[in-house]
């Protein structure tokens, strides 16, 4: 990316820029028309790309230094004054170092603070567990009033950042380190917070996923169609809270086999949120959760880590083949299972 290209984000950029770069540019652009937007970071302005906003609106950006509790407390105070703060740091610090400030200062008071957390999941590969974050979905979705979004790529990040400004309450958007390949070719696919997107239809099994899992799942579905003749549905559950129960229930009744794929501990993440909906419905299905199986992450290149934790297309294919072997009563009478 070169200097002087301005802050206007285009579809071309989506293919060449990382999700966090797009975030920074979109925010800078939004700041031009919305004077209520202010930016905050904790010595990670460049790393999180909120520096694009800083450059465009220097009087509305504040770097609080390496002090994440203060970052969230200050964001809450600014929101109390009627401003819309975007606070950016790494996901691990936003969700854990400052968890109580996010919960008590921001969510309890239902303030419109937008937390854009980068380097989520295991995307910071070689940095290791201290800089990975495989707990944030669990933490953030347990805070009442919070909306939790994990976009599939840069294009969806741009859509999510634009859409979250209009929500009256707090939002947590988790993106990766920024080297994740793009999924969407155009921003115009009807993104709506709280509404899952079926990116590929299918009837034998449904993958419910978010973030990097979307692209990997679509690739897995394509291979399974060609090799095994399977019809696999891929649902991009970009909003984990509030979760789109209708999309889950439709997948359940249409396919009766569901797997979830997430860059998170399989305890209390997307898979658990989906399981909640299934369990409450009283209807059964074959079900598996892919993610980190309650372990701390290894060090390595992200792609090696994704393969290790079966979060890449190959891992997803293996899991689906196993799940397809599960036998159960395939009648149309749901009532006896309720």
């Amino acid at each position: 990316m070169t200097e002087g290209t301005g802050t206007t984000w285009t579809c071309y950029d989506a293919a060449t820029m990382t999700a966090r770069e797009i975030y920074g540019r979109v925010l800078a652009e939004m700041g031009k028309t919305n004077p209520s937007i202010v930016g905050l970071s904790a010595d990670l302005a460049k790393s999180t790309s909120i520096s694009f906003f800083e450059k465009a609106h220097p009087t509305r950006f504040f770097n609080v230094g390496i002090a994440e509790q203060n970052l969230m407390g200050i964001a809450a105070g600014m929101a109390k004054m009627g401003l819309i703060p975007f606070a950016s740091t790494f996901a691990v610090f936003a969700s854990m170092r400052a968890a109580e400030q996010v919960r008590t200062d921001i969510c309890y008071q239902n303030l419109p603070v937008k937390i854009i957390a980068t380097h989520g999941g295991i995307s910071f590969g070689a940095a290791g567990t201290t800089h990975h974050c495989t707990e944030d979905i669990a933490i953030m979705r347990s805070f009442a009033n919070m909306t939790v979004i994990i976009p599939a790529d840069g294009t969806e990040t741009a859509n999510a950042v634009r859409a979250c400004v209009d929500l009256p309450g707090p939002v947590y958007i988790r993106v990766g380190r920024g080297f994740e390949p793009p999924f969407y070719e155009s921003a115009d696919y009807g993104f709506q917070i709280g509404k899952a997107k079926t990116v590929q239809d299918g009837s034998d099994l449904a993958i419910i996923t978010c973030g990097i899992g979307v692209l990997q799942s679509v690739e897995a579905a394509r291979t399974l169609k060609e090799a095994d003749g399977l019809s696999v549905r891929v649902i991009n559950m970009h909003t984990i809270k509030p979760i789109d129960s209708d999309a889950i229930m439709k997948a359940l009744t249409d396919t009766r086999r569901i797997i979830t794929v997430e860059e998170h501990n399989t305890l209390s993440g997307l898979g658990s949120a989906v399981a909640d909906v299934i369990a409450e419905s009283g209807k059964g299905c074959a079900f598996r959760k892919l993610g980190l199986p309650d372990v701390y992450s290894e060090v390595g290149y992200p792609e090696d880590l994704y393969a290790h934790y079966k979060l890449d297309a190959n891992g997803i294919i293996d899991t689906i083949r196993e799940v397809m072997k599960i036998e159960f009563e395939e009648d149309e009478d749901w009532e006896d299972e309720v």
Binding site: V38, T59, R60, F62, V64, G65, A67, Q69, N70, M72, G73, I74, A75, A76, G77, M78, A79, K80, M81, G82, L83, P85, E100, Q101, T104, D105, Y108, Q109, N110
Partner: protein, 286 residues
């Protein structure tokens, strides 16, 4: 500006009524943080009845001054202050701690009219106040943000993060007042986890420090005036206080951090307050 005789009389009379309210609320509530409520009450009285630009008839007035009670456990003092200032009916205080009451041990800004921030978890208020002061600057508004801290609370690292930021951003519209009553739950602050030399620490963090007697209205007024006049550095008013002030058997007593009182103790407490103010009010009338 120095207090006029009328102001002085009014403020002490108001503080007397509020001390009696604290005792009443403690008895209605079945228990409260009465010690710290009695130490901070003069600070809250002078802020709400002299300094804060607020309008109880228009509690959400955007240009009002803000107050963050960072030591949120002093709700037993804060709720009577807001009631007497006209934000809600004083009778409502009788619901304190009861099922679905807007008033509990720690103030909820979504439920308590006039309360600018939900507090109670220590170390959270000052960062929020810094955000408010910064926000006022972004909006180009002449709004003062007052933040009242406990001294034990200064053990929290987030307080020092916020002080660093207040100095860095030169937030002279932020006035921090520390209720230095020298006691925390487990004992004297200097025994549990010392904060001294507090003035030096605050200065080293870029603050200007004004030390006052936190029960003397003239001292408090002088300190706050100095803070308001600050042009370069944000000012901290270090208010030396006595925990339990006004109720003789609670004064400087560790166990009265939180306590409940029966009818006999309540009468004794009111009697003690009456006695203390007999002398004070006589002094300020002469």
């Amino acid at each position: 500006m120095a207090l006029t005789k009328e102001e002085r009389q009014k403020l002490y009379a108001q503080a007397k009524q509020l001390r009696n309210d604290i005792v009443d609320v403690t008895s209605w509530a079945g228990g409260a943080h009465i010690g710290g409520g009695l130490s901070v009450i003069d600070i809250l009285t002078i802020l709400y009845f002299k300094y804060l630009r607020i309008d109880p008839k228009n509690p959400c007035w955007e240009d009002r001054d803000r107050l963050v009670l960072s030591k949120g456990h002093a709700a037993v003092a804060y709720v009577p202050v807001l009631a007497r200032r006209g934000f809600f009916n004083v009778e409502e205080m009788k619901t304190f701690n009861k099922f679905k009451s807007p008033f509990g041990m720690h103030p909820d800004s979504k439920k308590v009219c006039g309360c600018d921030a939900s507090t109670g978890s220590l170390g959270h208020g000052l960062p929020m106040a810094v955000g408010m002061a910064l926000g006022a600057r972004v909006l180009g508004k002449d709004i003062k943000v007052y933040c009242v801290l406990g001294d034990g609370e200064c053990n929290e690292g987030s307080i020092w993060e916020a002080l660093m930021a207040a100095a860095q951003f030169k937030l002279t519209n932020l006035i921090t007042i520390i209720d230095r009553n020298r006691l925390m739950i487990d004992g004297p602050t200097e025994k549990v986890m010392g904060v001294e030399p507090l003035p030096d620490k605050l200065k080293a963090f870029g603050m200007e420090v004004v030390t006052v007697d936190g029960h003397d209205m003239d001292g408090l007024s002088e300190g706050i005036d100095k803070a308001l006049a600050g042009k370069e550095k944000p000012v901290v008013v270090l208010a030396n206080t006595v925990k339990g002030k006004g109720v003789n058997f609670m004064e400087d007593q560790v166990p009265w951090h939180y306590g409940s009182i029966d009818a006999a103790l309540k009468e004794k407490a009111h009697g003690s307050i009456e006695k203390m103010y007999e002398a004070i009010l006589k002094g300020v009338s002469s």
